[in-house]
């Protein structure tokens, strides 16, 4: 197991050059990779996010929890450009204002996202799924003339091995089990070589063994990448959590180490009260 996890250490260091978005690289001189300040999003008067402020340090693994409707998914939507904030600012590093970028540009700048429901390309093969996600020049013309180099083939194979999907490489991804799809999506995220990973309920539908492996993978990624994990599975959170943020009604209710948050009377009330 640990061999497989270590084998992927090449991913984070490998890339970092050919991104064509003119962001001039990510400036994290103050040690902060993501900075949200006073983000408000309302849908027809309902405030999904209410002056949410949050900052993620470089290399941090942050767990975000909260009851349904607390705004976890909306927060990810704002960070990845899927939803625009009504007010507030969102910065990636010191210089990149996320409000000005499209989803694709944000992805190229180095933010990867896994959806709540596993979204993969069901009618493409598993290997093709990874190929499409892999860091490359993603403009139309380059894509048309692109041919897989042997180095890229190696990286696809490596990624599939890490995700334990080698055997399924040439099968349509739609035939994978739910847990395998989750893994494929995580694998696709990693070959994108993101600096920040947003993971929305990554272990939903996984077996215990798969969950275990996922926890180990995330722990090994922290440090090289920054991770934000949204999860309902408290056992999983307990395994990986260092710092936990609790969202409630669109803003931060509590933040701190797992122990401290768990004993916070306000958090207990939100989860158990009413």
């Amino acid at each position: 197991m640990s061999a497989a996890v270590h084998a992927q250490s090449g991913f984070g260091a490998g890339g970092g050059s050919a991104a064509h978005v003119a962001t001039g690289g990510l400036d994290t001189t103050h040690g902060v990779v993501l900075y949200l300040d006073g983000i408000t999003v309302s849908f027809d008067g309902f405030k999904a996010l209410n002056k949410l402020s949050l900052s993620i340090d470089v290399g941090e693994l942050r767990c975000v929890i909260g009851p349904n409707g607390a705004g976890k998914t909306t927060m990810m939507d704002v960070i990845t450009g899927r939803t625009r904030a009504d007010s507030g600012t969102a910065y990636f590093g010191q210089t990149i204002d996320l409000a000005n970028l499209s989803e694709a540009e944000i992805a190229q700048a180095g933010i990867g996202r896994k959806f709540q429901m596993p979204t993969i390309f069901e009618r493409l093969t598993v290997a093709e799924n990874v190929e499409l996600a892999m860091k490359a020049d993603k403009r139309v013309r380059r894509t048309l003339f692109h041919r897989l180099s042997s180095e890229e083939r190696d990286r696809i194979a490596e990624s599939l091995r890490l995700m334990r999907l080698e055997a399924a490489a040439d099968r349509p991804a739609g035939l994978l089990s739910h847990g395998e799809k989750q893994w494929l999506e995580i694998g696709m995220l990693l070959v994108q070589e993101p600096k920040l990973l947003l993971l929305d309920e990554p272990v939903a539908g996984m077996s215990d063994a798969e969950t275990e492996r996922t926890a180990e993978l995330f722990l090994s990624l922290a440090g090289k990448h920054s991770l934000v994990v949204v999860e309902h599975d408290m056992a999983f959170i307990g395994k990986i959590a260092r710092k936990v943020t609790v969202l409630h009604e669109g803003s931060v209710l509590a933040e701190g180490p797992m122990q401290q948050v768990q004993n916070d009377p306000r958090v207990i009330e939100v989860y158990l009260g009413r």
């Binding site: 992805a107 499409l132 894509t143 349509p172 035939l175």
Partner: protein
């Protein structure tokens, strides 16, 4: 080469080329008319016409079968290409029209003294070629840019392309627009100086159309087997995921939509000199939807299926409209219904007896499956 087709694929393509470039010319030109094997002008024109339809079908399959964009504007692009060619053909008539004027008959009839601005240079063949590519291409580029930038997709996109086509049809029906109103363009005499109805010219047009169809097919095949093709398929299956992978999907959609429109325009330009007429009814919304059903009959996302479907449906149409004209619309309607209900993968799906590998639960049904 091997990426495009396997040995069997190339063999079939070679056989088809042989029919188009050797068998047809021989039977039509070399065999004397009274011989039973002689192929009459009727069949040459019919086959040429169907090959033009097949080109549009391939273009449609690129956007619909691969990228999942159902355009109901391809009839418009086809007609625009046809009109661009038609303008050149009208200028070629010279003074041989009813009124023996330098102007086309319909302009004389409307008492116009000079050509409207959009007829500028249309007596030049190279300019006509440019218009054939540029007019549908630019329209698709601009329209696609605005539509895809605003994330208009699915049925919405279909409906607004239909509205666009409908608006264009109304526009072309007006005499004042300068495209001959109801009657459009007809009574062509020459193309590039050659008389347009002689068997030789006909056969040349037929062969050029065949070459264009094969070229279109190979180009489309090259695209769909490239990484670009896989990105398009990915957009069809899960567009948000593609965006979060860092692809600007709008550019991809605009690019394939524009390319497809250009191909449709070229098909229209080849169609007009062979059938000898172009009028606004080519832009009716019904025509655009029919293009979609050719593709569906053949099998979406297969390219060859698009050609097959165009051939089958139009072959049936030619037969029915002669044999039982009043039943053709029943038959066409039934094709629409039955293919969507019972043949989601079209005729190609029937032909390929592939193992379940390529069959999987891609479409989730609402309501009934539970």
């Amino acid at each position: 080469m091997s990426r495009l087709y396997g040995a069997r694929g190339w063999a079939i393509l070679g056989a088809c080329s042989l029919v188009v470039f050797v068998v047809f010319p021989l039977l039509n030109l070399a065999v004397p008319p009274e011989h039973p094997l002689h192929l009459s002008a009727f069949w040459v024109t019919l086959a040429g016409k169907i090959m033009c339809y097949a080109m549009v079908a391939v273009a449609m399959d690129l956007v619909w079968g691969y990228a999942g964009i159902l355009s109901l504007g391809h009839g418009l692009f086809f007609a625009l290409g046809g009109y661009a060619m038609g303008m050149y053909l009208m200028r070629q008539i010279g003074r041989e029209g009813q009124y023996q004027s330098d102007m086309p008959d319909f302009m004389v009839f409307l008492d116009w003294k000079e050509f409207p601005w959009h007829w500028w240079m249309t007596d030049q063949f190279w300019w006509a070629l440019l218009l054939i590519v540029a007019v549908p291409g630019l329209l698709a580029l601009v329209f696609g840019y605005f539509a895809f930038r605003s994330r208009v997709k699915g049925v919405y996109f279909s409906i607004i392309t239909q509205a666009l086509t409908f608006a264009a049809m109304l526009l072309f029906f007006r005499n004042a627009t300068g495209f001959g109103g109801n009657n459009g363009f007809t009574d062509f005499k020459r193309i590039l100086g050659f008389p347009i109805t002689t068997p030789e010219t006909r056969m040349a047009l037929f062969a050029i159309t065949g070459a264009a169809l094969i070229g279109t097919l190979l180009l489309a095949r090259w695209i769909v087997t490239s990484k670009l093709g896989r990105v398009l398929a990915a957009i069809r299956d899960a567009e948000p995921r593609v965006m979060f992978c860092g692809y600007d999907t709008m550019h991809y959609k605009v690019a394939i939509f524009t390319l497809s429109a250009v191909l449709a325009g070229i098909a229209g330009a080849l169609y007009v000199p062979q059938v000898g007429i172009i009028n606004p009814s080519e832009m009716s919304p019904a025509n655009s939807i029919e293009i979609a059903i050719w593709v569906a009959v053949g099998g979406r996302g297969t390219l060859a299926g698009a050609i097959l479907g165009a051939g089958l449906v139009n072959g049936a149409k030619s037969y029915f409209t002669v044999a039982f004209p009043e039943y053709w619309l029943f038959a066409l309607g039934a094709i629409f219904i039955l293919v969507t209900l019972f043949l989601p993968r079209g005729v190609m799906g029937l032909l390929e007896h592939l193992p379940g590998a390529s069959r999987h639960p891609s479409s989730t049904r609402r309501g009934k499956t539970a």
